[in-house]
């Protein structure tokens, strides 16, 4: 016997699950993406060759909540999200490939490695930097520099061993005018920048759609946008660090 499609009733727990375990965590994560992309920080890490905080949609969820995501995507009350999630994931994947291409291009360019080596030698030879030694493995620095260029890192925390070096030498490696042509990376740099713009636009549209849809569901089914605590916070709740609510981008 075919199951009849029925609209969930007001105060539906199923709709609450969509809002609390799908829309809310996703809004948190995509807003964070926009916060980071807004300042050009892709959170790309040389050691993992990937992004720290920009991920495919599914990776933003606790695995225990994936059934709610699947239910959300399968229901006709939530149209358009499957294709938007897929578009987001394609954009993340493409951005990751472009970042990797740019990184590989830099790392394999003799001139780039030689310039990093030379900059490090000059930095260490300066008596003013005697108290801020680089203390890195011989071959590590080019990887750090490539990472900082991908993430458009302006300043590192003061206690990072590369803080002083980057502060003093970064302008030597940032080439906005000729777009890294000296390292023959103009094309890979441009491709990365184009892709970042595309990802940002995809994520902006997605956030708008998610916000609108949450408002619609909350209104239609008369549910709050976040669970209301049944009791005032207790002292022991101070140790619960399970919620991650980012600032708006």
């Amino acid at each position: 016997m075919a199951v009849q499609k029925a609209t969930p009733p007001r105060h539906s727990r199923r709709v609450e699950a969509w809002v609390y375990s799908v829309l809310n965590p996703l809004l948190d994560s995509i807003r964070r993406e926009l916060l980071l992309l807004g300042r050009g920080d892709l959170t790309w890490r040389a050691y993992s060759k990937g992004f720290e905080y920009i991920k495919p949609i599914k990776e933003y969820f606790d695995p225990s909540q994936l059934p709610n995501l699947e239910d959300f995507l399968a229901d006709p009350l939530n149209p358009g999200f499957a294709s938007e999630f897929a578009a987001h994931d394609r954009a993340v994947d493409e951005t990751s490939s472009r970042a990797r291409q740019f990184y590989d291009g830099l790392i394999n360019t003799v001139l780039f490695r030689r310039q990093v080596e030379e900059a490090a030698r000059k930095y260490q030879a300066d008596p003013r930097n005697a108290l801020k030694p680089l203390n890195l493995g011989k071959d590590d620095l080019p990887h750090y520099v490539a990472e900082y260029l991908i993430n458009k890192t302006e300043e590192l925390p003061g206690y990072y061993v590369t803080h002083g070096f980057w502060k003093e030498k970064k302008d030597q490696f940032l080439h906005p005018a000729d777009e890294f042509e000296a390292y023959k990376q103009r094309n890979s740099f441009r491709a990365l920048q184009r892709q970042v713009t595309k990802l940002r636009s995809t994520s902006e549209n997605l956030v708008e759609h998610l916000e609108r849809h949450r408002r619609d569901l909350c209104t239609k089914f008369d549910i709050p946008a976040a669970p209301i605590p049944s009791n005032p916070p207790r002292e022991r709740d101070r140790d619960d660090v399970s919620s991650y609510i980012p600032r708006r981008a």
Binding site: L35, T43, Y60, P63, D240, V241, S242, Y244
Partner: protein
């Protein structure tokens, strides 16, 4: 010649769990927007104490901690939901890489059993680490008043995060 300042003399900083946790939380909240973690911050609640802490940590040539501290960080992280755990470990890896943190093992059997029973293996590992490096005049950085007291009694350099000026 300019007079020697305290910065000239600093060689080794030994970090207890608290300050590492504070630095990780500060970056998670203020750089990456994990607002939900703000209430976890105890000392580095705004830019002033953070800047002082950064200057202090940066004034040492080398930084180290004990494997027991990493274990204690793990206990803290395990309280978070699964997705949050990976995010916090990412932060820890990034911070450890960034500051070229060394990590040393103090074997349980090398710790005094009465001290372990009284203060726990993490505090004792920090004290033993400071004793191991005594020649380098290390400074222990902590947010634990009890550990401060033990270090002072043992004649070891120690600073509470709140004391940094």
């Amino acid at each position: 010649m300019s007079p020697r300042t305290y910065r000239d003399e600093r060689e080794l900083l030994i970090l207890d769990t608290g300050p590492i946790r504070e630095l990780i939380l500060y970056h998670a909240v203020f750089s990456f927007g994990f607002e939900g973690l703000r209430r976890e911050l105890r000392c580095l609640t705004h830019a002033d104490p953070y800047d002082r802490c950064v200057d202090f940590v940066a004034s040492f040539r080398r930084r180290t901690t004990s494997a027991s501290v990493v274990s204690e960080l793990n206990c803290w992280i395990r309280k978070t939901e699964r997705q949050g755990q990976e995010r916090l470990w990412n932060r820890i890896y990034d911070q450890f890489r960034g500051m070229e943190m060394n990590e040393e093992v103090i074997r349980l059997l090398h710790m005094d059993i009465q001290m372990v029973a009284r203060f726990g293996p993490v505090d004792v590992s920090i004290i033993k680490l400071a004793e191991r490096h005594r020649q380098e005049r290390p400074v222990v950085l902590t947010i634990d008043q009890a550990l401060c007291g033990i270090c002072k009694d043992a004649g070891l350099g120690v600073r509470h995060l709140h004391e940094i000026e």
